[in-house]
């Protein structure tokens, strides 16, 4: 399972990177979204996708899934939400000001 998962993560990452190479800033935004998904899944897979019980002690199971990566990913998801929100608003404002979403046209001066 972990091997298959790793392959899927690789595809996710590749597509995310490819989207981020785009000249269209909206595609870049979607790319970052996918990138974060793939990173969360890596963290998740690294610890092993054991089929223990969920990390809830009242289940009184023999083995539990590893709680630490889960806590880390939870933090990452929320931070990523904040960043996605900020970037999307940035895109929105950029379009308002410049009337373009093409990164080629949004470049700075040559001699900056």
């Amino acid at each position: 399972m972990e091997i298959l998962m790793s392959v899927v993560i690789g595809i996710l990452f590749a597509v995310a990177v490819y989207l981020m190479f785009s000249r269209n800033i909206i595609r870049v935004l979607i790319g970052t979204l996918l990138l974060s998904h793939s990173v969360h899944l890596i963290l998740f897979t690294m610890a092993g996708l054991q089929r223990g019980a969920p990390p809830l002690l009242f289940l009184e199971a023999e083995a539990y899934a590893d709680p630490l990566p889960q806590a880390l990913i939870l933090t990452a998801i929320v931070i990523n939400f904040g960043i996605t929100a900020f970037v999307s608003v940035l895109v929105y404002r950029t379009y308002q000001e410049h009337k373009t979403v093409d990164l080629y046209d949004l470049r700075g001066e040559k001699d900056e």
């Binding site: 690789g10 000249r23 979204l33 899944l41 899934a65 806590a71 998801i77 929105y92 001699d111």
Partner: protein, 805 residues
């Protein structure tokens, strides 16, 4: 924190007060308050003479970063005391002089005195620190304060140029020196100079010895303006004259000398140390003297003369290091060079200090320092002329002045090299006295030029900016007179300093090589009979006179007109090249395209990852403990892959959002399957809110269009993206396999065991978030809050492109 520590820090502490004194007490010149700092410190350090002249020393400890072995330990021995006395003594006179020199109402005295005090404290720190890291910190502060003082009149372009130049060169040297110090630490295992001296044998045999030595010497040579790094010193003459007298002749430029002297017990004893220092020193002496003759600006002559004299002292320190080879301190044959170095160091501080002050007076009273415009000032400024005569005669090495005494010792020390029967001293060593002698001819010549072109000859009032030229006010004259008197005193009673100052300083440069109970031979006499040294002096004076008399002839030559140093051109071109090169590099790299930056980063990361995997066998693959695959997972993962692969093709923005959201929900589903209810819930919520947010944003945005890129770029993009994906897959597999095969215990066990006991919660994920790793969560909240504030300010404040943020 002892009184000694306080003494070093006192200038810094007082510097804090200076701006207030300047602001609230405008009636009294700020310099009068500052004057007390060096004066009191000078008297304080005088009290140490009784300690060091008995051959004792004093060490005061204070912990700073004990875990790294960096302690603010201060150490007073003969050498550091000599420098401390110079710093505070000359400092007192210079500040007194500056009070009258910077008497204008518009001078920014608060800046000036803060910088001067900063420098004074840093310089005391340099010479008193036992710890090389502390020494380095103070060393860099002297570079900074020097640059600030050079650019004191910062509206002048030349000032800023000079300040930058001195900063670049000395900081370059300082960083090299730090590298050398680090190597020393690697070798000796300590930052303390005293302990290093104790471990000198270990260092001497170490592989890194030569590298450390060269790096430390780079620091010393840049600071003490040795060829080819001397070029910053003439440009530093844009500083106000008190600064030139203080930093750029008497103290700061001698920090390099101090460092070489201080490190002599650590490094000396080998041919490299001897030849590097001696040859660079002697060549600098010649180069400086020859350059000085070509200058037309009084201060420029003095600057090159300082370069020359510093080279001379440096070469003496090199020549004297032979004493370590022979381990024989009783034989004057080897130690005379060190004696001459210390003695000349003192003499140079006295006469060069007074000469700079005189140059300042001439500039102040006539408005120019150009020797082509000056002349005939002897009758108008008799006191100034007398002071300069004493100083110049000492510099030229005329008897009976102190310069003569140290010049004679210098010749003795340098001719002794011929008698050393090692390191080719008796063959190549023959060059040293010859070069020294040629340099002395030019030394005499430029001393004569200064005196005769300024004070004799025809008075040309029409060429001077100031119409009514008269003698300087008494205040300006006090300090140079004191220094001239010091010159005379040392000239008449040279042995006054012999066993109080010079001998203890020699003890610290050459420790442990004297036989029990004996002392260095430091008796200094005017008359040794007619010997080689006297003949050399006489010859140098005679030829020097010839050079001066024929000046009218050779001054028509092209070389006389070219005042700028050749090395300056090298510096300027190198500087331009550096700027242009980095501009080209920046332009090539900083294209302003997000894609290009990402390509750079990813190529680097992918490259380094693959390299590591193959080089260090970082790739692991194992199926152990891998969990089984349920059939339905193929559908889930297949759906995820298809969704994701469709995304780049989609051109409708709303479709894109829905697909992205769908991918997010699938991820949430994966979390559910693999026993992470909290994650699944969070992911679902976040995905929902994100989709709503995107709806709101994308509603205002245009539809997606096909990217306008060449097929080649597209192929490159696909290849790099594919490589990145492959890298991530391999990393993920390796990390998993490594985690399963390693015998290290997972920290998660701790959380599983203690969630209930320590935090009273059954949901381990939540307990980790709010309790065990609460700080992480709090910082995460901060990130979220900042992002929200950012959104609000982006929208509500409406910063325009033209606005300066």
């Amino acid at each position: 924190m002892t009184f000694l520590h306080f003494a070093v820090l006192a200038p810094f502490l007082f510097a804090v007060l200076v701006p207030f004194l300047f602001k609230y007490i405008r009636k009294i010149h700020t310099g009068w308050f500052v004057l007390f700092v060096p004066l009191i410190l000078f008297i304080y350090f005088l009290s140490f003479i009784s300690v060091t002249s008995d051959g004792r020393d004093e060490l005061q400890r204070m912990e700073w970063v004990p875990s790294l072995g960096i302690n603010f330990d201060l150490y007073v021995d003969g050498l550091s005391l000599l420098f401390a006395l110079l710093i505070t003594g000359i400092g007192t006179l210079v500040i007194l002089y500056s009070i009258f020199y910077l008497a204008g109402k518009k001078e920014r005295l608060n800046h000036f005195y803060v910088y001067i005090l900063l420098f004074m404290g840093a310089m005391l720190g340099v010479v008193l620190s036992d710890n090389i890291i502390v020494l380095y910190v103070f060393w860099e502060i002297t570079s900074i304060s020097s640059a600030l003082l050079i650019s004191y009149w910062y509206s002048k372009k030349a000032s800023v140029y000079g300040a930058q130049k001195s900063m670049y060169i000395t900081v370059f040297g300082g960083l090299s020196m730090l590298g050398g110090f680090s190597l020393l630490y690697v070798m000796a295992g300590t930052f303390s100079i005293r302990e290093m001296v104790g471990n000198a044998d270990v260092i001497l045999g170490h592989d890194l010895f030569l590298a450390a030595m060269i790096l430390v010497l780079l620091g010393a040579f840049t600071k003490s303006a040795q060829f080819p790094f001397h070029i910053w010193l003439p440009d530093a003459m844009e500083a106000p004259t008190p600064v030139s007298a203080y930093l750029h002749s008497a103290t700061m430029v001698k920090a390099g000398i101090y460092l070489v002297a201080r490190m002599t017990p650590v490094f000396a004893g080998g041919a490299e140390w001897f030849w590097i220092i001696t040859s660079f020193g002697i060549f600098t002496m010649l180069w400086g003297a020859v350059s000085a003759v070509r200058q037309k600006d009084l201060k420029a002559i003095l600057a090159f003369s300082t370069v020359s004299q510093l080279g001379m002292i440096m070469s003496l320190l090199g020549a004297g290091s032979a004493a370590f080879y022979y381990m024989d301190g009783d034989n004057a044959l080897y130690t005379t060079a060190i004696l001459a170095a210390i003695f000349h160091l003192i003499n140079h501080a006295t006469f060069k200090g007074s000469l700079f002050m005189v140059a300042g007076i001439v500039d102040h009273e006539t408005g120019t320092r150009d020797i082509r415009k000056l002349g005939g000032l002897m009758t108008i400024m008799p006191v100034t002329a007398t002071i300069s005569f004493i100083g110049l005669a000492a510099m030229a090495g005329l008897p009976p002045f102190n310069g003569f005494l140290s010049k004679e010792l210098f010749f003795t020390g340098i001719t002794n090299v011929v008698q050393y029967d090692m390191w080719n001293g008796d063959t190549i060593g023959m060059i040293l006295p010859v070069v020294a002698w040629i340099a002395s001819i030019f030394t005499f010549a430029y001393s004569a030029i200064i005196f005769f072109r300024t004070f004799r000859g025809k008075f040309k009032p029409e060429a001077l900016p100031v119409k009514k030229v008269h003698e300087a006010p008494a205040g300006l004259l006090i300090s140079p007179i004191v220094l001239a008197v010091a010159v005379l005193l040392i000239s008449i009673f040279p042995n006054m300093l012999a066993y109080t100052i010079i001998e203890p300083a020699m003890m610290s440069i050459l420790p442990g090589i004297l036989s029990e109970g004996s002392a260095f031979y430091v008796d200094i006499y005017h008359w040794h009979g007619i010997n080689l040294e006297l003949m050399m002096t006489a010859g140098a004076v005679a030829l020097g006179i010839v050079v001066y008399i024929t000046m009218d002839k050779w001054s028509k030559l092209g070389i006389y007109q070219r005042e700028r140093d050749i090395m300056t051109a090298a510096y300027d071109n190198g500087y331009d090249l550096l700027i242009k090169g980095s501009q080209i590099l920046t332009r090539a790299q900083m294209t302003g395209m997000l894609r290009d930056y990402l390509v750079y980063m990813l190529l680097f990361i992918v490259g380094i990852m693959f390299y590591t995997m193959f080089r260090f066998e970082g790739f692991h693959f194992g199926m152990d403990n891998a969990s089984d695959i349920d059939i339905f997972m193929y559908f889930i993962l297949g759906a995820l892959v298809i969704t994701v692969l469709l995304l780049p093709k989609v051109n409708n923005r709303m479709t894109a959002i829905i697909l992205a959201g769908f991918a997010g929900f699938l991820v949430a589903f994966i979390f559910t399957v693999f026993r992470a209810p909290d994650l699944a819930l969070t992911q679902l919520m976040v995905e929902t809110v994100s989709v709503l947010l995107f709806m709101a944003v994308f509603y205002h945005l245009p539809n997606l269009t096909k990217d306008d890129i060449t097929p080649l770029t597209k192929t490159i993009n696909i290849v790099i993206a594919g490589l990145a994906g492959l890298m991530v897959t391999l990393v993920s597999i390796s990390a998993f396999t490594f985690g399963q095969t390693t015998s290290l215990a997972a920290i998660s066990e701790y959380y599983i065991e203690n969630s209930k006991i320590l935090a009273g919660g059954y949901n381990m994920v939540n307990v980790v978030l709010v309790d065990f790793r609460g700080l992480d969560t709090m910082l995460e909240l901060l990130v979220l809050g900042i992002a929200a504030l950012g959104v609000v300010s982006l929208i509500k404040l409406k910063v325009r492109e033209s606005d300066d943020v």
